[in-house]
Symmetry: C2
Amino acid sequence: MRNLQELQALFIGELEKRNFGENPKNLYEPFHYILALGGKRLRPVLTLLSCEAFGKPAEQAMEAALGIELLHNFSLIHDDIMDEAPLRRGKETVHQKWNLSIGILSGDAMVVEAFRQISKVDDSILREVNEVFAKAATEICEGQQWDMDFESRDDVTEEEYIKMIQFKTSVLLGAALQIGARIGGADDVGAAQAYNFGLNLGTAFQIKDDILDAFGDPEKFGKQVGGDILSNKKTILLLHALNSSDDSTQSELENWLKTTDQPEAKVEAVKAIFERSGTVRYAEQRMEAYYRMALNNLDECEVHGADVSVLRSFADYLYHRDH
Amino acid sequence: MRNLQELQALFIGELEKRNFGENPKNLYEPFHYILALGGKRLRPVLTLLSCEAFGKPAEQAMEAALGIELLHNFSLIHDDIMDEAPLRRGKETVHQKWNLSIGILSGDAMVVEAFRQISKVDDSILREVNEVFAKAATEICEGQQWDMDFESRDDVTEEEYIKMIQFKTSVLLGAALQIGARIGGADDVGAAQAYNFGLNLGTAFQIKDDILDAFGDPEKFGKQVGGDILSNKKTILLLHALNSSDDSTQSELENWLKTTDQPEAKVEAVKAIFERSGTVRYAEQRMEAYYRMALNNLDECEVHGADVSVLRSFADYLYHRDH
């Protein structure tokens, strides 16, 4: 089977050839604009990888992979509106470049096109693929709503946070893998384990993201280290430190949360609290637990007929990344 | 087969029983809020009617009818944002009652739920129903974009206008009927003619709406007569009068378009122009032509096994309505 880079190139080549519509221009130009912004195309490539892992050529999963990428980009367009983000990948966001209405409507047209592409699978798996896809789409909306709700809540639990990041991100990785597996001919257990692999690996990835945001190497990380701390973002680190450390540490942390005029001191102090309260070690352990579950899921896929070598090196790469 | 009122009651009873989700509250409360605002439930009832016309009990088309109603309500939530509408049916719109983000996101979750419901049809028609539904959903987005684009264009043609109103409204009536027909067991021609019936009847209905907006009886019409004239809305009347009358009438009309300080005189003068330039008669003729095509489509449905009596009286009712 082909490796990640080869399938990435295959997907990008195919995406560039596609024309999802032309008129009205104000509806379809944003489509092609956001799809051209680039990115690693992780989700659709996982669909292709999973298809080949279970034994069919990735080309058979191309439409499904496009459906996955369209669903992801729909959520980016609408999330950027909700987050009032002016930029994505250094370029103007859709609502910024055009306007609010066009951002809403081109996102709407894109989620419909996503359903259209995903429905191109064979009759024998159409119902299941539709259901997996729609479930992921619903959960992405729910996850985004939880995320917005959390900003104004002060009683968010760690488990709620895990569920939120899973819904916002991991379920689509799971669906991408499950759908690819089914197209590749996976049996029920193989397909379910492919989903679980994506869910668990995605969760490990998100926890690692929280850790890197505070403790990553600034030269490698690409964005401002400590950004989550400065914005009081309820990451797994902050939630664990708030909910599980002793009273004096908690009140020290709460004081720093109110501090806005000493950014550098705040980052250093909060990081020190995360370290000495055992929060960093705790988050790393949870991350590793999800990673181990993901590897177990891969073993099960192997038992059910998949060649998981490329998926295993992909997981390994994510685990060892330092940015 | 049951009549329109009976199927309306059946649908409303079923809708009230449904729970599409509860958590997060900010995502699902808007769902139940907008679905409870009422309305004639025309689109889903057409699905039920069409199913019974082709010979199966409407209950078998209930999930599809819910899918149609959800798709319609998704477009209402998002259109209200784009139109900056504070009220719908006398109650606050979703984005007004909650906020912009919740309006966007609950609409997103609703279009996904619409696809989920529509996909509950039998395997034998699943692919076709999905395609008909997705095509209508795409066209609704395209129609909304054309509508917004037309506001700032001064070269809109009548045919573009017809296409816009068809996409915004009629295609969903067509899809509602075609999907109901298929569930009811219609053959290919019967299903296609059911679609065409909805498309043509919907188009006649929209043209009639334009005429009633200017010439309806104020006591019966419910909204301000002449509202379209006051807002210079590019209706079939205005487009025809601008594109097809003599030069002096055109420049007279263009002067009135610029007038904002004499609303009553403007409405009377523009109506007089519409009448003496033959525009009203022209619009009535186009409306009648679409209505006749719709009736021909019904005849074809009858040839292909449908009992079209209820659909025929429904068309007759729409044709003779004066508000």
